[in-house]
């Protein structure tokens, strides 16, 4: 509880995804791979494609999935060596020098956004391109997105574009019932899910 309150003063990094804009082109996945040297077969951001309905009434939802930087992360709780931990600004990161590669965090993550680097044997994940954030730049996926569907920023700063978008549009988070308090906000997620459930 105290942790969450502390974060009211400092920054809280999160993202906004405009599901109405995302075309599922996959530019974000490619940009991330190039930026972060992600090996083949694994991804830090990936697109979940969900199809539903019966011809001719078919629906499809493309859902970009990346680390939600939960305020109460399930992965941090289970890590036996504290290799994965939470920074004061809300970023959940992995220390590659301590991780033993047990993959407990991968099993614990309700969002499926962690992976093990098969070359190094430790777990890696999205860190919102921390190295770019430090230089005042945007994450690589956000820069690559041709429809500006992805907006990263400090959700505690009311003037930050991400905050503005979350403020302006109706948004929902993924799996709120898990109590992980994710920081990824998806525009009209509930409407899209309801559409998928239409017969």
């Amino acid at each position: 509880m105290a942790e969450t309150e502390n974060r009211k003063d400092g920054p809280r990094y999160g993202f906004f995804v405009d599901l109405d804009r995302c075309t599922g082109c996959g530019a974000c996945m490619i940009a991330c791979k190039a930026e972060n040297d992600v090996p083949p077969g694994v991804f830090r951001i990936w697109l979940k494609e969900i199809e539903a309905g019966r011809h001719p009434n078919v629906r499809r939802l493309v859902l970009p999935l990346l680390c939600n930087m939960c305020l109460k992360p399930a992965c941090v709780q289970v890590c036996p060596t504290k290799a994965t931990f939470q920074l004061p600004d809300g970023l959940v990161v992995v220390n590659p020098h301590i991780c033993i590669g047990c993959r407990y965090c991968m099993a614990a993550c309700p969002y499926g956004v962690r992976y093990m680097n098969p070359n190094t044997g430790h777990v890696e994940k999205c860190h919102y391109c921390m190295h770019r954030l430090e230089r005042g730049m945007h994450p690589a996926c956000m820069e690559a997105c041709p429809t500006a569907a992805l907006v990263f920023g400090n959700l505690n700063d009311p003037d930050d574009p991400a905050s503005v978008m979350v403020e302006r549009h109706p948004t929902q988070v993924l799996k709120p019932e898990f109590g992980t308090v994710p920081s990824g906000f998806y525009r009209n997620l509930d409407v899209r899910l309801a559409e998928l459930n239409e017969e």
């Binding site: 077969g41 694994v42 991804f43 979940k48 969900i50 539903a52 939802l61 859902l63 999935l65 399930a74 941090v76 709780q77 289970v78 890590c79 036996p80 060596t81 504290k82 290799a83 301590i98 991780c99 033993i100 590669g101 047990c102 993959r103 407990y104 991968m106 099993a107 614990a108 993550c109 309700p110 969002y111 499926g112 956004v113 962690r114 992976y115 093990m116 680097n117 098969p118 070359n119 190094t120 044997g121 430790h122 777990v123 993924l174 799996k175 709120p176 019932e177 898990f178 997620l189 899910l193 998928l196 459930n197």
Partner: protein, 426 residues
């Protein structure tokens, strides 16, 4: 089965040793490949991070904890009937524990860092607590077994003809000289009892805790139940009891008369525990069907009718439960020691299926963001996990090395009752 002639027994033994040697060679190649080329030799995916290594790890930890709990029948509750196999149960617990922990070593991406858990301690991690539990457990186990064998080790250090073996015995008995006729002192008896009593919560913690590793993962509804640690403990006792029965029948030199009373009792106990385990599984299945929550029922669907349906129906249910329980309880076979031994082998092989089905199917379910109800009851085949050839090879390797260690122990260590003159150094 009526081929008792020494020649055919010899042939059987030779075949078994040959198979084990082949398995060892294959296994060592697999392990060498695994450690030379890294964790990339395994087929894990982002969605399915655990596979057969993890399954076999919990299998062996279960065998170990189950055997230890059965040994407590002798050393805590004083059940005289099981006394001849008390030490075997403890020794088996030790070998299985080491096999299980070796599989952890194979399974983690950075095995050289594994002891980091101790100094980068995380009190919120069940896994970290488990590492601690395993260490306490191994100390209790070794001490208890050693105190029980102490007098015999001293005697063997004195009597053994092979100088190398004599040296081994001298080290194991820490050089204490042999006094003929000396038996376990009252202090040692009390110590064994204390260790055995202390060991019960530790063993329950070891395997219940292993179950808890899974049970705390809310991301997987199949695991996220308080019943999971209990299921782990019950199936552990079933597999431990089965292995103990099997070893008692085929690998001990107990009198035929002793076996005649001991083995059916052990087998019956195992069968009852196994039925209890099946009952718990049935309860879980009932809840899933009754609740009809998609991400919960999907896992059961994967177990009962997924691509690996036969793991449940053939290993777990047919070979692992129905057949052996019938053999153990039926009035035509329940007195036949060898049939009971074979039935026990079916049980502990069947529990491998239980372990595979605990670890793998829940990870195969396509899930993301509370959306599972929209996935229209499909299994995500793209995230699906099939063990790589190397995973099988290295698993076989660890099992083969464990089998050699077990055979060596049976050969060398005084695992029978002391003073019965049954152990001969070979």
């Amino acid at each position: 089965m009526k081929s008792d002639s020494p020649a055919s027994m010899k042939r059987l033994k030779l075949a078994a040793v040959g198979a084990l040697t082949a398995a060892t060679v294959i296994g060592l190649l697999g392990l060498a490949d695994r450690f030379a080329n890294g964790i990339g030799v395994a087929n894990f995916t982002s969605i399915s991070p655990w596979g057969i290594w993890m399954s076999m790890y919990i299998y062996f930890i279960g065998l170990s904890a189950g055997s230890f709990l059965l040994s407590s029948l002798v050393y805590v509750f004083g059940v005289k009937k099981f006394e001849p196999v008390g030490r075997i149960a403890l020794f088996q617990a030790l070998v299985c524990l080491i096999a299980g922990l070796s599989l952890v070593f194979v399974d983690v991406g950075r095995p050289e860092r594994i002891f980091r858990v101790l100094w980068n301690w995380s009190e919120s991690s069940v896994l970290a607590w488990e590492v601690l539990f395993y260490q306490v457990y191994i100390v209790v186990l070794c001490l208890e077994l050693w105190i029980l064998m102490r007098r015999d080790l001293e005697r063997l250090a004195h009597e053994a003809k092979n100088p190398l073996l004599r040296y081994v015995y001298r080290i194991l008995s820490i050089g204490r000289p042999y006094t003929p006729g000396e038996s376990q002192s009252a202090g040692e008896k009390r110590m064994v009892r204390i260790l055995a009593i202390a060991g019960v919560p530790v063993a329950l913690g070891v395997h219940g805790g292993t179950g808890l590793i899974f049970a705390v993962l809310k991301a997987h509804p199949y695991w996220y139940t308080g019943m999971f640690p209990i299921i782990f403990i019950v199936s552990a006792m079933a597999s431990g009891g089965a292995l103990l029965t099997f070893l008692t029948v085929f690998f001990t030199r107990l009198d035929a008369e002793v076996k005649k009373t001991l083995v059916p009792a052990l087998a019956r106990l195992t069968a009852i525990i196994l039925l209890a385990d099946m009952f718990l599984l049935a309860l879980e299945t009932f809840l899933a069907i009754y609740g009809n929550m998609p991400d919960h029922t999907l896992t059961f669907e994967a177990i009962f009718a997924g691509p690996y349906w036969w793991v449940f129906w053939f290993f777990e249910f047919g070979l692992g439960t129905v057949a052996p329980v019938t053999l153990i309880l039926s009035k035509w076979t329940r007195g036949n020691v060898r049939v009971l031994g074979a039935a026990s082998a079916m049980i502990f092989i069947g529990v491998i299926g239980v372990r595979l089905n605990i670890v793998i199917p829940p990870l195969q379910i396509s899930w993301a963001g509370g959306l599972v109800e929209t996935f229209h009851r499909t299994l995500n085949t793209s995230a699906g996990y099939t063990p790589s050839f190397n995973e099988w090879m290295s698993t076989v390797g660890v099992i083969a090395i464990g089998a050699w260690a077990g055979l060596a122990g049976f050969r060398i260590l005084p695992l029978g009752l002391s003073g019965d003159g049954k152990e001969k150094e070979s």
